[in-house]
Amino acid sequence: MSPEERSQTNDEQIVLCTSAFDCGGRCPLRVHVKDGVITRIEGDDYSDEDKQLRACWRGRAYRHWIYHPDRLLYPLKRTGERGTGQFERITWDEAMDTIVSELKRIKETYGNGAIFLGGGGHLGALHTRGALNKALSMFGGYTSSYGNISSEGAVWAVQASYGDVMVGHSREDMLNSRLIIMWGWDPVRMISGTDAIGNLIKAKEAGIPIISIGPRYEDSAATLAAEWIPIIPGTDAAMMVAVAYVIIKENLQDQAFLDKYTVGFDKFEEYVTGIEDGAEKTPAWAEAISGVPAETIIDLARRYATNKPACLMDCQGPARAAFGEQYNRCAIALTAMTGNIGKPGGSACGGLMGIPYGHMFRSSGIPGMRNPTEVGGPSIRGTLDLNLRLVRRIHTNRIWDGILKGKAGGYPADVKMAWFAGGNILNQRGNINKGVQALKSLEFIVAQDLFLTPTARYADIVLPVKSFVEKNDLTRPWPSGPYLCFSNQAIEPMGECKTDWEIGCLLAEKLGYEDFDNKTEDEWLRTFVSENPEYQRFIKNYDEFKQEGIQRLQFDEPYIAFKAQIEDPENNPFNTPSGKIEIFSQRLADLNSLLTPPVPKYIIAEREDRNHPLAKKYPLQLLSPHPRVRVHSTLQNVDWLVEVDPHVMWINPADAEPRGICDGDEVYVFNDRGKIAIKAWVTRRIVPGVVSIYEGAWYEPDEEGIDRGGCVNVLTDDTYSPGGAAALKTVLVETAKV
């Protein structure tokens, strides 16, 4: 039966939806609606079963998120102390009037820079904070943050090396590889595109050897890899440099490729072989740093350099660390040395994985307006100098410090009010206890969300937001297709919820901006489809697209990043100053900093790891990977998800035993920044000396300030790497049984 036929039976309707989360995928969902209520959710039923875009476990549980008893249904105003969660219901009019009068007061008293606008949330085309940005820009502007909390290290590395972020291959191209190395990549957990896992399974079953490198024996490793190479967190770059050393010493590099397509390999070689600094980066050198045996490094280097094509998959997680960008830079150097760039079965590395079809960076949106507070700042286009980017903005992992210190601390503004358009920022940035102080220092806070998140608990006004089934929008796969989605409205809005777009429009109306937005939802979506070149190319009929909910893009062959540059370099230079892949970057050389060296390096400098003096007091390194059963902090408390993967701390028996910790014990995890309570999961799947807690659990402090919710960002630091990566994985802690 076709979906339409089936939708006729049982007066049940099937509506085609997708979520719009930063969840790593984008799965077409068939939402069953009966009498206006969602009864069931089914996944993709594409006729070619093999190519179905099957929803992950989270998609299967959305019904309990949409109808969660804690959903916010009405605007709220705060009645108790900030953070205590005491609120009362108010009308939209009262909410918006309060907001408008506070906006005006703050603008008059302190200027527009005092208004901080942050957010996250819905990744659609229309129902985003775009309208809010525009309304506040018309109001005179606001201060915002710079950087993406997830991927900044990778972005910086690919900008430095390729000048381009489209570094991915179609997933099925992995089947053309002769060796796949998942280095810090766990697609089973973080999806990495809805079609990733299926293709990896096929690769494994086709006999392609898969190696996994990382501090944890991840689900992907357990399912796919023939071999796990455990490594101490933060030392990937050292091991990669040693792999390069072996390749160079054994003369296994693809010199012709290097000569033709890259610049500065000689400089990198000088660093690796020690000509530059007198230190040979031998496997033994790397073993001492990374804990990976020298023989393993040698073996890996030989296999990687001699099996062609080989697909080295780095990711973004290991880059979320001190000097994290060097991990992606080193990976790019390795794939260049082995000549695997631009070729079927190879990889460009760089961690971003996107292809230019259906890419989420290329989403449509309502036309914006330049934020007046940023007018006149330095030009930052293409710069690798983070400092320039932080002249007018606050680094995303430094928001709290920026609020607390203001201009006196070197930040662009003295912030007095904050508007969080989704995003649960308090929970999802380093050093929550500093965040609490910052939020308490503000004069006014607005939050819009579906739930009373830890961030929203500090707000003065909370605005309730619709979930993805309560609106129509264009959505895109994470990070890219090849497909495009249309998420249909399945049910009437819950309570008085609005979308971020509607809230932006409402603000504009209250501020008296006439003709701010005269289009209906449907008009906007049709406009997006008709005006965006990608939709123009692939969507022939809007109504059909809307009805089907998905447009799959068919190509004769897999997309390969930089294929054109490799096949025809004359006519297709790389988007770098040299037109080549920059193993050596003059732009970086010009920055003249040891911490952003022109060639990829393992940076020897102090950081909060096992060699730090603090390790005496806090001997365990802490990881905070993306959770499996949440999307960061979204989907917290969805009972169906919590029960299959309770929030725990991974700890190796070698660390648990001396601390008297048994599996399932309640423990405290702490450092100078804070203390959380969580249950221990004793497992051999993690390197000794390292503990791991998934990010995103909701911060829930008790009277003593101990976080009973187990939010890892109570422990992480609000620092960033020289490339701009939030250094959330460079953290020391100690743990003890409660």
């Binding site: 399912t223 009972d639 028996p653 648990a656 910790i661 004793v682």
Partner: protein, 667 residues
């Protein structure tokens, strides 16, 4: 036609999409009712870790034991497609299933356990096997027993059956004959030897001692995939069960059934192989055994420290029993006094009668009610003409020319035992009494024989091996202990339970895991309130048929004759089914589920019965991102994927015949 599942362990990523999709489709709330469950297994020491998952919905078995045990006949297997379905309206409706009142326990219905099960040291699913017996499903009953019991025949005969002591049928008239019912199935199901189990673990374990503790550990370890070698110093396997418990209670050929079964699984038992407890242990470790278990038992008989205790004509009970069993010629006098009140004492007395002693008496400290010996044993002893004298202490063995002539005893009162089992009492004045005897048998307990034990293994003041009660590991890493050598003389079932716990910790040790586990909450059978219906009709316990006294005296033939089928079924029907959820307990995979709700009714995977009509497959199959699951007719599935019902780290039950084809995870 039979519909069933296919599951590829190599593809499953452990993501739970199947389980959640199932809950969404069938609108099952979060909580304990999980139609599709995923078993997680982590093996190997860091960094050689190995992970596997097993999808466990309901396997819609060819022999659905769940259906057989359901008192309300709520579970049926559909003719047309073999799907085993539950009529939830009927569940717990026609007949009660579970009469424990929730008060006093915070346990959910499905977590409640019957008093018998709680008091069984190995936690057998007693009501489930009894229910199967009541339905005439003896083979299935035996399988339920074997799930946790390595020596079913033994524990069907000589178990001290603490379960029966707690059985609530006694509040109607008498407890259910739980032990004898177990004996019945072991006698009446023709022995089918199992296949050798595959060795899936890199390690082997050496077990020293083939008594119940050693064999129980071996059974569990081999089922976990370890190679197991049992070293036995004596010529026969079974420890005290073979060497001491008399034939009239436990015939050797009965015990042999159990041992044959264990050996068929692949347990390598080497008799006549004494392990030197000093250097020998090092040798075993050097040979490559990953861990050692000392299950040496407590074999050294003791005598009272009184004058005359070492005269000719005085014996210790265990040595006597062992000599009898090993066929030595025994010379006993005419008039025998056995000192002691336990089973060993009664065994000695009854054996003495069989060996021709005319006047056999037993003298013990305890009063009649408190005698540790089994009641039925005492009764049968009395039938055999043995006199029991209680509340007596013996102070002197009289002699004439080095020959025993009598024993002096006094009456006592205020008997108490300290935590080490040492008695204290007051002698009642002027109650001296002399037994006129020529033979004295001391049956006052045994201690381990630890001659030559390596110094780094510590011992207790009681003369037992000191091991950590939380890990069963001795003072030396990798060497564990269990059974009577660790606890002093106990019983077969206690030794079995002890061996099982040791196996549990040995596994953790070999996996490089933290040894200790969080203390489990335990419930005392006394705290379980059972609401017996007021109108419950009395139905007396089946009397175990026995040999006549004269038949018994002619040798060591087994006294108990065992139930016949009709008796067994009638006896099984007496079970009150205190805890309920028989389907869940009988199912080898615990597939039947119960939500956290008032009067929870059974629910379980129905193979998405209503989706097939639409030409769709079950929701779990369609949800699985890596396509690890499939479903279809068993014929199709076998054609497509091969006929394999084997999975890594998961034991399928052959008896129920699950409808599933699997691809086991490859290392």
């Amino acid at each position: 036609m039979q519909l069933g599942f296919y599951f590829d362990q190599n593809r499953c990523t452990g993501c739970y999409a199947c389980a959640i999709a199932c809950k969404d489709w069938h609108d099952v709330p979060a909580g304990p009712a999980r139609w599709m469950r995923l078993l997680y297994r982590e093996e190997g020491k860091f960094p050689k870790v190995f992970v596997s998952h097993m999808a466990t919905p309901c396997y819609h078995c060819a022999e659905p034991v769940c259906a057989y045990v359901c008192p309300s006949e709520a579970i049926t297997k559909r003719e047309e497609d073999g799907i085993v379905v539950i009529d939830r309206e009927k569940c717990r409706e026609e007949k009660a299933c579970g009469i424990i009142s929730g008060e006093g326990t915070s346990l959910l219905y499905a977590e409640q356990e019957a008093p018998c099960q709680v008091s069984c040291p190995v936690h057998l699913h007693i009501p489930a096997y009894i229910a199967l017996i009541a339905k005439g499903r003896f083979k299935e009953a035996l399988e339920v027993i074997r799930r946790r019991m390595p020596l079913p025949s033994v524990c069907g005969r000589v178990c001290l059956h603490p379960c029966e002591t707690e059985c609530r049928r006694k509040d109607v008239e008498e407890p259910v004959a739980i032990m004898a019912l177990k004996g019945f199935v072991t006698d009446n199901v023709p022995q089918e030897l199992p296949d050798r189990l595959p060795l899936t673990q890199p390690d082997c374990v050496a077990i020293v001692g083939s008594g119940p503790a050693g064999l129980a550990a071996a059974y569990d370890l081999i089922r976990m995939g370890y190679g197991v070698t049992v070293f036995e110093s004596g010529p026969v396997v079974g420890g005290m069960l073979t060497t001491a418990i008399p034939e009239h209670r436990l015939p050797r050929e009965v015990l042999k059934r159990d041992i044959d079964y264990l050996e068929a699984l692949g347990i390598d038992i080497r008799t006549n192989t004494r392990v030197d407890l000093g250097r020998g242990l090092d040798d075993l470790l050097e040979e490559g055994y990953g861990a050692l278990l000392l299950a040496l038992g407590a074999s050294k008989g003791q005598k009272l420290d009184i004058a005359g205790a070492n005269l000719k004509g005085t014996l210790d009970g265990v040595s006597l029993m062992q000599d009898i069993k090993s066929g030595k010629s025994i010379e006993l006098g005419e008039k025998v006094l056995v000192i002691g009140g336990g089973n060993v004492a009664i065994d000695c007395a009854r054996s003495a009668r069989r060996l021709g002693a005319n006047a056999v008496r037993v003298a013990c400290l305890e009063c009649r009610e408190d005698m540790p010996a089994e009641d039925s044993e005492i009764r049968q002893a009395e039938e055999e003409g043995i006199e029991i004298h209680c509340s007596l202490t013996s102070s002197l063995v009289r002699e004439d020319n080095g020959k025993v002539t009598g024993v002096e005893c006094q009456e006592i009162e205020g008997l108490q035992f300290d935590e080490n089992g040492q008695p204290s009492f007051k002698v009642v004045k002027d109650t001296g009494h002399v037994f006129d005897v020529d033979t004295v048998i001391f049956a006052i307990g045994q201690v381990p024989d630890l001659t030559g034990l390596s110094g780094d293994i510590k011992t207790s003041p009681m003369g037992t091996i000191a091991a950590d009660a939380g890990t069963f590991m001795t003072a030396r890493r990798g060497i564990f202990s269990a059974g009577d050598v660790m606890n002093g003389p106990t019983s077969a079932v206690d030794a079995i339970a002890s061996g099982q716990k040791a196996a549990f910790f040995i596994n953790r040790y070999l996996q490089g895991d933290v040894l200790r586990v969080r203390p489990q909450k335990t419930i005392s059978p006394k705290d379980i309130t059972v609401d017996i219906p007021a109108d419950k009709e009395k139905q007396p316990r089946q009397v175990m048929p026995t040999l006549s006294v004269s038949e018994r005296m002619s040798g060591f033939r087994e006294v108990a004759l065992g139930f016949i089928e009709a008796e067994a079924i009638q006896e099984a029907e007496r079970c009150l089914n205190c805890a309920g959820h028989l389907c869940k307990d009988a199912c080898p995979y615990s597939a039947p589920q119960f939500a956290d709700e008032e009067k929870a009714r059974m629910q379980k995977c129905d193979l998405c019965v209503e989706r097939w009509g639409d030409g769709q497959k079950p929701i779990c199959v369609e949800a699985c991102p890596p396509h690890a699951l499939d479903a279809g007719t068993m014929d199709e599935l076998k054609m497509k994927y091969g006929d394999v019902t084997e999975a890594h780290s998961f034991n399928y039950s052959r008896t129920v015949q699950p409808s599933i084809v699997t691809k086991p995870k490859q290392r």
